[in-house]
């Protein structure tokens, strides 16, 4: 008798609370869906990639990435692959503060490569992500010294409209 009462109470509880639970779950699901929906509508992103080939180059170069108020996240990736010379890379925010740097140097110079000595490749790569980045021009400076190689600069900006 007692067992049947317990079962009846349990069934009543489930019947009573079931719609609420379902409604709750449905609400969460909608919320997530709306959130994604909003994201799809209000957020945009853009990516740029710039490749630079250097041939025994000593000419400094700057690459500017313009960041607007709407940008919520900025990702900068710089990778370099050099077979001779020395390369320095620096990232500056719009206020001129250095945000990252690296330098790579190949011990074999061009002349030794010409003499048949095997070339020596050196790689440098930097990835930086900035949440709500400073508005303005972010500058990537490349300072090569007799560099032969390739540099690739990738930037990704995610913004909300």
């Amino acid at each position: 008798m007692k067992t049947s009462i317990k079962i009846i109470v349990l069934v009543m509880f489930l019947l009573g609370s079931g719609p609420t639970l379902f409604a709750q779950r449905g609400s969460n699901s909608n919320s997530n869906h709306n959130s994604n929906h909003n994201n799809n509508h209000n957020c945009s992103s853009s990516s740029t990639t710039k490749s630079i080939s250097l041939e025994d180059s000593s000419k400094n170069e700057s690459v500017t990435i313009s960041v607007t108020d709407e940008v919520k996240c900025l990702n900068i990736g710089v990778s370099s692959n050099i077979s001779s010379g020395a390369l320095t890379m620096e990232i500056y925010n719009p206020e001129g503060d250095k945000q990252g740097n690296f330098s790579v140097e190949s011990e074999l110079n061009s002349s030794s490569s010409n003499t048949g000595k095997s070339s020596e490749t050196v790689c440098g790569q930097l990835n930086k992500t900035f949440k709500e980045p400073m508005k303005g021009d972010w500058v990537i400076k490349l300072k090569p010294k007799k560099v032969t190689g390739k540099v690739q600069i990738h930037s990704h900006q995610a913004s909300s409209n």
Binding site: G100, V122, G124
Partner: protein, 339 residues
């Protein structure tokens, strides 16, 4: 009775077990204190199972990569164990970088930031024993535990604090991120201030963006330089050269420039005076008679008195006086008296 006969065997067994455990303990203890850099790295399949050790000559070279910096390499065994002998290292503590490369990439590969950051820094010398072990995952060196040489552990702690700088860029608002970043830099300066190990201390300060902090916190850096005045390592020499010159030295420069100008002015003045002196004396242009008459004029005598003195005519005196005025470029008797 049976138990009694087994007693010696049990004792022997216990003693043997004790000996084995003791030997193991001693062996492990010796292993921990044997000089070298060793450890266990569990890597993803994208990584080449080779570890490289590079010497970092100054803190500005932390993110410099060239194969000339690599001083040793060690292969990982199937369990990820590796070992570098360190008997060729300096007796003084130096900074070293341990890095790995991706399969197919050159050994001189440096990846900074992101999930594939491929390096970590250690401080040590030829006598230090450093044991490190990572937790599988990416970045491979972020969850690394170091045992053994105490300064190497302290350096790892500095890196652990510094890691938060990058992570604040991912979490929370920019205002919160800025606030947290400032707090992290402050914490690093605190470590720099309190660490008893010069290189660890400088490493922490280097991580704290001292270039931007120096102008607003000069007294701290003056005190810091004073504290490590005796440090002659390249790390400290480079650091000192990066700080703005002392203000007293600026004044010295100004004083030297001022002194140079003073000497130049003095020499110029002296030269001009001499030149002036060397110029033709107008009195030399006068004839003997005119000089005598000029002397008389200076005595305040009139033309008539002069004519009587020299027994010459008045008109002759007037002619001489006129000639004197012309040659001396004067216009009156008074000017002639003052000449």
């Amino acid at each position: 009775m049976k138990n009694e006969t087994n007693l010696p065997y049990r004792s022997l067994l216990s003693f043997g077990a004790f000996l084995i455990l003791f030997q193991l303990a001693i062996g492990q203890s010796q292993g921990e204190h044997t000089p070298g850099i060793r450890g266990k790295l569990q890597l993803d399949s994208i990584w080449d199972p080779v570890v490289y050790l590079s010497h970092i000559p100054t803190l500005n070279d932390m993110y410099h990569m060239s194969t000339g910096m690599i001083i040793s390499e060690a292969s990982l065994d199937s369990l990820g164990n590796f070992s570098f002998a360190t008997d060729y290292l300096s007796e003084d503590d130096q900074l070293y970088r341990i890095h790995i490369s991706k399969k197919g990439a050159p050994m001189g590969s440096l990846i900074i930031g992101g999930d594939e950051e491929n390096h970590m820094f250690v401080v040590g010398n030829k006598y230090s024993s450093i044991v490190l072990e990572n937790i599988p995952g990416n970045p491979p060196f972020t969850p690394v535990e170091i045992q053994g040489y105490r300064p190497a552990q302290e350096l790892r702690e500095v890196d652990r604090i510094y890691t938060y700088v990058d992570s604040t860029h991912f979490k929370g608002s920019s205002v919160k991120g800025e606030f947290v970043t400032k707090a992290i830099y402050e914490k690093l300066r605190f470590v720099a201030d309190t660490s008893s190990h010069s290189l660890v201390s400088l490493y922490a300060l280097h991580r704290s963006k001292f270039e931007t902090n120096y102008p607003i916190n000069k007294s701290f850096y003056e005190g810091y330089l004073k504290k490590w005045k005796g440090e002659k390592s390249n790390y400290f020499k480079t650091f000192r050269s990066q700080l703005p010159q002392e203000s007293s030295k600026d004044y010295t420069a100004y004083i030297l420039i001022g002194l140079a100008f003073f000497i130049l002015g003095f020499v110029l003045n002296h030269f001009l005076k001499r030149k002036k002196k060397k110029g033709p004396n107008p009195i030399q242009k006068l004839s003997v008679q005119e000089r005598k008459i000029l002397e008389e004029i200076k005595q305040g005598r009139s033309n008539k008195e002069i004519s009587e003195t020299f027994n010459i005519g008045l008109s002759t005196v007037k002619s001489h006086v006129s000639s004197i005025y012309t040659k001396l470029n004067i216009k009156s008797r008074k000017e002639a008296m003052d000449f």
